[in-house]
């Protein structure tokens, strides 16, 4: 069974604009995929719906077989605790140190202090910022801030990691480093879905690419030219194996 399933998902805003149109997609557990497309193609909406930050106008999103689109209250909160999310503008808290920012999801889940420290340092070590745990985000470079955001997203060891334009403000070298980090998390079994408009970067990664245009999937495969309706491609997506 796929870990994540989009079934006929449409998102239409109040002004009539259609951000997603009848989207069908599946992601196997432990797979990695990039969402790409022009600005306004529907990449961020795709991730927002998966994070339940918005509700689809039509269709179902199943995660581990559960329709997450109508979840509310404590159930929704618990669902989000099991996801990791990274954003272009980091969403770091400026008045809290790097350590405090990264520890936030663990504190919410009520983890013991000594375990929190161990987990936070492990996550910071993974992103190469262990020595900066006492600093406040304003003293970090943009790339470092993004890595703190990633550390916060992975500190709970989520099964699914979502990233929306995580390299949007970074130079090519830093962007590649960030993508390598996502690749490493994927290699330990985390399902990773990254929205990015940087075609050169994502094509160099050699993983599944889903291209959106005006809310519809126009291409789906390792090679961006692969048609999503091709039998082989669909089969590979369901198993989570990269094409080719």
């Amino acid at each position: 069974m796929p870990q994540i399933e989009f079934h006929g998902v449409t998102k239409r805003f109040d002004n009539g604009q259609e951000a997603l149109a009848e989207v069908n997609a599946e992601f196997a557990e432990g797979s990695m995929a990039f969402l790409t497309g022009h600005s306004g193609a529907g990449k961020s909406t795709f991730l927002k719906l998966l994070l339940c930050l918005d509700q689809p106008s039509r269709g179902q999103i199943l995660v581990n077989g559960v329709n997450v689109t109508r979840m509310t209250g404590g159930r929704l909160a618990h669902y989000r605790q099991h996801l990791g999310a990274v954003f272009q503008d980091h969403h770091l808290l400026s008045h809290r140190s790097v350590y405090e920012n990264v520890s936030l999801p663990l504190r919410i889940s009520g983890m013991r202090e000594k375990d929190v420290g161990r987990r936070v340092r492990a996550a910071l070590s993974r992103v190469g910022l262990l020595e900066k745990e006492r600093l406040f985000p304003r003293y970090l470079s943009t790339g470092e801030q993004q890595r703190v955001g990633i550390a916060r997203a992975v500190v709970t060891r989520p099964k699914i990691l979502l990233a929306d334009e995580p390299t949007g403000n970074l130079d090519p070298e830093l962007s590649r480093d960030i993508m390598k980090l996502f690749e490493q998390f994927n290699q330990v079994g985390t399902t990773v879905i990254v929205a990015s408009h940087d075609r050169d970067l994502i094509e160099s990664m050699g993983v599944r690419i889903i291209e959106l245009d005006q809310g519809a999937i126009v291409r789906d495969g390792v090679d961006a030219r692969v048609d999503p309706r091709s039998h082989e491609s669909a089969e590979r997506h369901q198993t989570g194996l990269p094409d080719g």
Binding site: V66, G74, A77, H78, H82, H91, L104, P105, I108, S109
Partner: protein, 324 residues
């Protein structure tokens, strides 16, 4: 956590709620309390203003409550010494006076009976009024003999009425006056103050809630970014609301403390003139009600109103919170 879900439970609920232990719950509360103190002390000017506003809102009804308590106490104290005075006919026989004294003195509610004859009444009248010259113009003494019955301390109003009827029926008695006018007045004032206290208590209670709600709303606005992040990473509504309930409680407790200080200040200011006033009625000033229970209740009430205000503000604002 993500890794904590067992395979068996995942089939039922892929995202089982994490149930932190008592220790984690306690640590979370301690952390929030620390952060609240930090937040409030970092905005001391605003916090003082809120405390003052809540304090004034609480002080007025609480002060009225205290006043009502003291009036009730005063009524009770005076209740112990009501009197009954029977005025005799001008031509009453001395035997009739003796009989009246004997009838009343025989009653268990009567502690003592004192007779004032006509001459003594005239002498008292001369001594206590400026009308002595006017009396000289009269042919005869116009004042009747009277008797004053002092009653036991715990006589009820029903017993008082029964004694009045008894005295009224005695031979030679022209008029009976029960000295309960002051009691009735104080009781009426106490009722007015009590009702005023309830009305003002409700109005100012709502005022205190609104003041706290507005202040907490400002605190929420100042921490919107943090709330968005908390919601994004899976904080429950309760976890997000908790810091603001602490704010409310903190503002309310501070307000209660200010109210206690204001009432205390008022008592210091009115103590001397009130003591003089009561002295003129042969009473000693003995304020009741301003005790640790009252102070504790005031603090608790302030804290509770603060929490209610915070709950109102947090529920409203968090409901509409857009994450991204």
């Amino acid at each position: 956590m993500a890794e904590g879900a067992t395979g068996k439970r995942r089939s039922k609920d892929p995202w089982p709620p994490v149930r932190p232990g008592l220790g984690a719950w306690w640590r979370d509360h301690l952390r929030i309390a620390r952060e609240t103190v930090h937040f409030v002390s970092a905005r001391l000017g605003t916090s003082l203003l809120v405390w003052l506003l809540v304090g004034i809102a609480l002080a007025l009804p609480a002060g009225l409550f205290l006043l009502q308590q003291n009036l009730a106490e005063m009524t009770e104290a005076w209740d112990g010494r009501p009197g009954l005075t029977a005025y005799f006919d001008l031509d009453v026989d001395p035997e009739e006076i003796d009989a009246a004294v004997a009838s009343l003195a025989a009653k268990s509610q009567v502690e003592a009976v004192r007779v004032t004859d006509r001459e003594a009444a005239l002498a008292e009248f001369r001594a206590f009024t400026d009308l002595a010259n006017a009396l000289d113009l009269l042919d005869s003494n116009p004042l009747p003999a009277s008797l004053k019955a002092t009653l036991i301390s715990d006589v009820s109003l029903e017993d008082l009425e029964a004694l009045r009827e008894l005295a009224d029926g005695l031979a030679g008695v022209a008029e009976v006056v029960v000295e309960k006018t002051w009691l009735e007045r104080i009781s009426d004032i106490s009722t007015v103050v009590s009702r005023l206290g309830v009305i003002l208590g409700l109005l100012f209670g709502v005022g205190a809630i609104l003041v706290t709600a507005t202040s907490v709303r400002l605190a929420i606005e100042a921490r919107l970014e943090e709330l968005r992040v908390l919601r994004l990473i899976g904080a429950t509504e309760r976890q997000m609301r908790r810091p603001f309930l602490y704010f409310g409680a903190f503002y309310g407790l501070g307000g209660g403390l200010v109210a206690a200080m204001l009432i205390s200040l008022c008592l210091v200011v009115v103590e001397a003139p009130l003591s003089n006033l009561l002295g003129s009625y042969a009473q000693e000033l003995d304020l009741v009600g301003f005790d640790p229970i009252f102070l504790g209740s005031l603090l608790l009430l302030g804290g509770a109103l603060g929490v209610v205000g915070a709950q109102v503000a947090a529920s409203q604002r968090l409901k509409d919170l857009e994450i991204l």
